[in-house]
């Protein structure tokens, strides 16, 4: 039986109890921050919307309703966010668009985080010329403005959501590499690493098995904080017509679609913008909250 008292005890009886207690304390500290909870709520809502999109959306996101009578209708009870120029329900499109947003965020995190970790830990662990070369490469990628580099990559690979994701991932890993390197520099001289080395562990094993896990928490915080930027970059690419292609309900592309009618039918471009804004805000708040709780260096 897990109780509050058992979790918060000063003398944990087992390693598991200590670990669970630590997690519980972190969670309590996290819940004390109302803004962070709002952020968590928004992110959870995004996930629920994405998973249950066909059940939540009242209409089909791609198929037009009656083109003669249902184009560009203002928000109403039947269409909470109005309809667009193709007579599609904007609310349904936004709900389905959550899937694309979540896909972009998840894939970029899955691609960029391991690259950043691998480059950073390798660089920090070996030092010397390996470090110099890897960090020079990282600096070159950091020297480019991110959106511009992503634009150039998409221009070369061709427009589309997959290429946009690859381009964003290619431009996202350098800060993680920097961070992981900085963490590794403090870890590599620790006694427990020396102990493992004396036991004959290979460098690869030390890096992946013992250094990387210790870098993870700070890199994860950084990734969460970057999510908003990733969403905004993806939306920007979509807006320029280089991300998801029509008729896919990508939020940035939806704004571009509504841009022509903004003066007369404001809701077509405004609604997807609100969606982008709320989701980025959610990730920003969640990231700030996580940093306050998990990063001992920031504040306290």
């Amino acid at each position: 039986m897990i109780t509050r008292q058992w979790l918060l005890t000063e003398q944990p009886a087992s390693r598991r109890q200590a670990r669970l207690g630590q997690s519980y304390r972190t969670w309590v500290a996290f819940t004390a921050n109302p803004l962070a909870m709002v952020g968590l709520g928004i992110v959870l809502l995004l996930i629920v919307l994405a998973v249950l999109a066909p059940l939540i959306a009242p209409y089909d996101p791609l198929i037009s309703l009656d083109l003669r009578t249902q184009r560009l209708l203002p928000p109403s009870w039947t269409h909470p966010m109005g309809t667009d120029d193709q007579a599609r329900d904007i609310f349904s499109r936004i709900v389905h668009g959550a899937r694309i947003t979540l896909l972009v965020v998840a894939l970029v995190a899955v691609i960029a985080t391991p690259i950043g970790l691998l480059v950073g830990t390798t660089s920090g662990y070996f030092g010397g010329w390996v470090d110099t070369i890897l960090m020079r490469i990282t600096d070159i990628f950091l020297a480019f403005p991110r959106l511009i580099l992503a634009l150039a990559f998409v221009a070369a690979l061709g427009p589309g959501i997959e290429n946009a994701i690859i381009a964003i991932a290619i431009t996202s890993w350098p800060p993680y590499a920097r961070l992981a390197r900085a963490e590794t520099l403090t870890i590599r001289n620790a006694d427990h690493i020396a102990a493992i080395r004396l036991q004959g562990a290979s460098s690869a094993r030390i890096i992946w098995g013992h250094v990387t896990p210790l870098c993870l928490s700070s890199v994860i915080i950084r990734v969460t904080l970057d999510m908003a930027g990733i969403i905004l970059t993806a939306a920007g690419l979509g807006f320029l017509g280089l991300g998801a292609q029509p008729p896919q309900p990508e939020w940035g592309a939806m704004i571009a679609g509504g841009r022509r009618f903004i003066l007369d039918y404001w809701w077509v471009a405004t609604m997807p913008g609100i969606a982008i804004f709320v989701v980025s805000l959610g990730f920003n708040l969640l990231g700030d909250g996580l940093r306050d709780v998990l990063d001992p260096k920031a504040g306290k």
Partner: protein, 353 residues
Amino acid sequence: MADTSVQGEGRRGALPAWPWKLVKLGATVALTFLGLLLVTFLIGRVVPVDPVLAVIGDRASQSVYDRVFVELGLDRPLYEQFWMYLQRVASGDFGESFLTKKPIAQDIARVFPATMELATVSIILGTLAGVPLGVLAAVRQGRLTDQIVRVVGLIGYSAPIFWLGLLGLLVFYARLHWVSGPGRIDISYEYSITPASGFLLFDTAMQGQWDAFRNVFGHIILPASLLGYYSMAYISRMTRSFMLTELAQEYIITARVKGVPEWRIIWVHALRNAAVPLVTVIALSYAGLLEGSVLTETVFAWPGLGQYLTNSLQNADMNAVLGGTLVIGGIFVGLNLLSDLLYTLLDPRVRRK
């Protein structure tokens, strides 16, 4: 800016390290530039567009194709091609635009002043608003002012700039008629002013054409405020944290004990020391504006580098895209370097290390 005389004696030991540091910095910058060039070169190589067909069209005979293939150096190994690319870029030749049929360097020189004017007005607005806000937030840490500054910053970090731009046009141009619409200047004025520097605000003011000046101002104020808002979000956040560091220092306590008025402690003593890292932040956000300008210029039909880049992108004009990317990347690296140098110049403590 910073009071260098206080730590003057620390400089003597640092002087011999100066040239060595410059050499190192120069090598770093050269390497970064080389990397930039390599990246754009490689991007240019993976494009699915055949560079030969882009030159001769798809109706040319096989013999013409083979000749151009050799002329473009495509039969040589990749490193030789890269070397040729380096030589061309070094002589300012980025190739010819397939859209405008002009050399890309010339195109970029034509559109660049518009972007620079926009970015400059934006950074002025952003700094003028961001620094006082950041100072206020630091002084009233944890209170309402601080929370407001935080929220303003969060909105800046979360809202897509192109969306805010569209909403701005909708509200301030279409509904309230406070500002002029998209574009840089009304057509009626466009040919009445003689372009001198390419910066329209400056040109019209120098020629005393105040009507045209007002017109240009009406066009630039909305996109510049928007971009300025984004740099303000960053500048105020950094000002706040620098000021918090300074206000916790012992010299502040000394000043208080001496009975220096509080406003003087904040705006003169603390801000002057916070100004050193702030210069770096402002230089970096100026570079960031180049990136923001790509989306903003698209929304506001601003005839600058950002719009040139997106137009070229949409027409698969690869030479122009890579030229534009290289120029923006180069300016980015340049501004980074400049902020590094300024930091070293202004802060004697950094120089000593």
